[in-house]
């Protein structure tokens, strides 16, 4: 326990350093600003703002990215409550009850309950991350190349299964991502491959181009095309402090939502969306008066908000301890770390303690900042939502272009992002999910590298995998999931 406390203290000293605090604050604010724009979810927000972090030191960059992530989540909830426009899908359950409260002139208490739920969920989950990440990282040191291959195969299969599209479509997206990941220098021979003779592709497809194109540019294209409805009016926000009755009702729901979110966020393929819907459903199921849900119940709002924030935090555990991203956001974090020359995984805890514990402490500080900053700034967010969108989204587009160019200074990266933007829009219209593609793109090189090592370790006899029980369990789990999915159909 003293060691745990010492680690957390180290993290707090790193995260509370004035520069890192400023990065966290700027990240949370930027994330909120972009996150409240309807249609732009957390993934797109992180993708768009990712290039802004490259000039920063690694710990500052990661802290700012994490701040952007929570900010985007929070921004989505604000618009859901005030205007019934969920900034992102995780905020849909919050809109159900939060907006009903707002329509009755109780937007202030609704925003407060959402903020409180998010804060509690985030705080508990942060401590869970701090408590579990280090032991998990130690356990991960037992993993050999074959175990990593098996884990990645399991992760990719779960990505396919959890994608909101038919399984075949998810599998095709994963294969596209894997194929794209092979473009560039071969890890073993050092020779360029899959470049089709295009100069500039020898260094591979830029992660930022792919992420910004598939998520950021594709979102902007969709928004420009779909002409979002004008921002509706909302009632007065009212006194921000909820009544005692509200708090009595919300408190147990926050506890249950936090527990659901913390567990769901740990699972590969899962995320804040699953967590918020699961917590809302649980709360409704155990309620004596389920008819109140959807009509302004503080319980529903509190459960959903605490669950989505808790899940957002605990999804850092597999990323930090195993180096395996459980969702597209974490894939972006891995991409950002790789651009700073840091390989996430079990060794990061021992080799980069400042970065690791600093990030964990910044999660908590980020939650405090969101609580302190966002409630007084609600009026500003409302005004931002009324900004002319036909000017707002082109502005975001050009800022993204500058950001992409700033990473490697290559105009080809900007052109590639445009191509990926069109491709991302095409994929969306054809029901092909972009998230699994990005995840596979990040995992592809790791998968190939570990498979090569596994073949060498097994002296070419891949059947020797039977000697590795953990590997067998992971592969059996993957096969079981596939069989279960086939039967379910």
């Amino acid at each position: 326990m003293p060691e745990f406390a010492a680690h957390l203290w180290l993290g707090l000293t790193v995260a509370a350093a004035p520069t890192n605090l400023a990065f966290c604050c700027v990240g949370a604010l930027l994330g909120t600003i972009v996150g409240i724009l309807p249609g732009i979810g957390a993934v797109a927000t992180v993708a768009m703002l990712l290039p802004m972090t490259f000039g920063l030191p690694p710990s500052g960059a990661l802290i700012m990215l994490a701040g952007i992530y929570y900010g985007a989540q929070y921004g989505g909830s604000t618009t859901a409550i005030l205007f019934n426009i969920p900034g992102e899908p995780t905020a849909i359950p919050s809109a159900l009850d939060g907006h009903q409260l707002a329509r009755r002139g109780r937007a202030g208490p609704a925003l407060f309950i959402a903020a409180l739920g998010s804060f509690v969920g985030g705080t508990v989950a942060t401590f869970l991350v701090a408590a579990l990440a280090a032991p998990l990282a130690l356990a991960a040191l037992l993993f050999g190349p074959m175990e990593y291959v098996s884990l990645m195969v399991l992760g990719l299969i779960m990505a396919v299964m959890m994608a909101p599209t038919p399984m075949l479509n998810g599998a095709a997206a994963v294969l596209c991502g894997l194929l794209l990941s092979t473009v560039g220098l071969d890890l073993e021979s050092g020779l360029p491959r899959m470049t089709l003779g295009v100069g500039g592709l020898e260094t591979g497809i830029g992660f930022v181009s792919l992420a910004t194109g598939l998520f950021g540019f594709a979102e902007i294209l969709r928004i420009l095309r779909d002409r979002p409805v004008p921002t509706p009016e909302t009632g007065p926000t009212g006194r921000p402090i909820p009544s005692r009755a509200d708090l009595r009702e919300a408190a147990p729901a926050i506890g249950r939502g936090t527990a659901v979110g913390a567990v769901v966020g740990l699972l590969p393929g899962s995320g804040a969306l699953t967590a918020s819907f699961a917590a809302y459903a649980l709360e409704k199921a155990i309620s004596r008066d389920p008819a109140r849900f959807g009509r302004g119940s503080p319980r529903g709002l509190a459960a959903a908000e605490s669950a989505n924030n808790a899940a957002a935090q605990t999804s850092f555990i597999p990323m930090l301890s195993l180096g395996i991203p459980p969702n597209a956001i974490m894939a972006m974090m891995i991409g950002a770390l790789a651009l700073h020359g840091i390989v996430p995984g079990p060794r990061i805890v021992a080799e980069q303690p400042e970065l690791f514990w600093g990030l964990i402490a910044s999660m908590w500080i980020g939650n405090v900042l969101l609580l302190v900053l966002n409630l007084p700034l609600v009026g500003l967010w409302i005004r931002l939502l009324r900004a002319p969108r036909h000017l707002l989204y082109p502005a975001i587009l050009v800022f993204c272009c500058v950001g992409i160019l700033g990473v490697r200074g290559s105009a080809l990266d900007v052109v590639a992002a445009a191509a990926f933007g069109v491709a991302g829009d095409w994929m969306r219209r054809h029901d092909l999910p972009s998230g699994p593609l990005l995840l596979a793109f990040v995992l592809g090189p790791m998968l190939e590298d570990n498979l090569r090592r596994a073949v060498i370790v097994a002296r070419g006899e891949i059947a020797n995998v039977a000697d590795r029980p953990l590997s067998v369990i992971l592969l059996a789990l993957a096969a079981g999931l596939l069989v279960a999915a086939a039967f379910r159909r």
Binding site: G55, E188, R193, G271, N327, G409, V414, P436
Partner: protein, 185 residues
């Protein structure tokens, strides 16, 4: 994995899928999707063709790309086959003007910021460097025009403001190594 973006796609695509249920006959969208995947797989296989395969304990540079491309091709074929048996889905077509201007805006930014020499029909076209200010302004105006609701006037005014802000932020504050202003001839 179930990225939130992917999740949001589900919500957005749901109406398209719902609408599809009532349609009948072979869906062009489904065939296009399958064909595109098969085409991508074919490009992948061609690119991987000259690469070495498994040799001894080495997997070789071409093994994984070939495996991925083959599986992708099979997935594309399976999609086409699957959809011949089920109700087709209707896939919306984006306005080509919007997509065209959007791409043009990004391309304009890419070539104008540092300038470029582009080969067109055997001739070298010299595109002058407009720097960050000029490239941002041009790209912004093109993106604004993509939306029919916008007017040139508001686009130009906002474009000038955004260009100024970009120069201040990116070259002044963040010190990105990009030329801020057009090249003086």
């Amino acid at each position: 994995m179930s990225a939130k973006a992917g999740e949001s796609e589900a919500a957005e695509n749901a109406p398209a899928r719902k609408a599809a249920g009532s349609a009948s006959g072979l869906s062009r969208g489904e065939v296009a999707r399958g064909l595109a995947l098969v085409g991508l797989a074919a490009v992948g296989l061609c690119a991987a063709a000259p690469l070495p395969g498994v040799e001894g304990l080495s997997l070789g540079a071409g093994t994984m790309p070939r495996i991925y491309a083959t599986l992708l091709g099979l997935a594309g074929l399976a999609m086409m086959a699957r959809k011949r048996r089920c109700a087709p889905e209707r896939v919306s077509r984006p306005p080509s003007r919007l997509t065209g201007l959007f791409v043009l805006a990004v391309l304009a930014f890419a070539v104008l910021v540092k300038g470029a020499d582009v080969a067109v029909a055997g001739h070298i076209l010299h595109i002058p460097r407009l720097g960050l200010a000029g490239a941002v302004f041009t790209a912004f105006c093109l993106a604004v025009v993509a939306d029919r609701q916008s007017s040139w006037r508001s686009g130009i005014l906002a474009g000038a403001a955004i260009a100024g802000a970009s120069v201040l932020l990116f070259t002044g504050l963040l010190r990105l190594p990009l030329p801020a202003w057009p090249a003086v001839p």
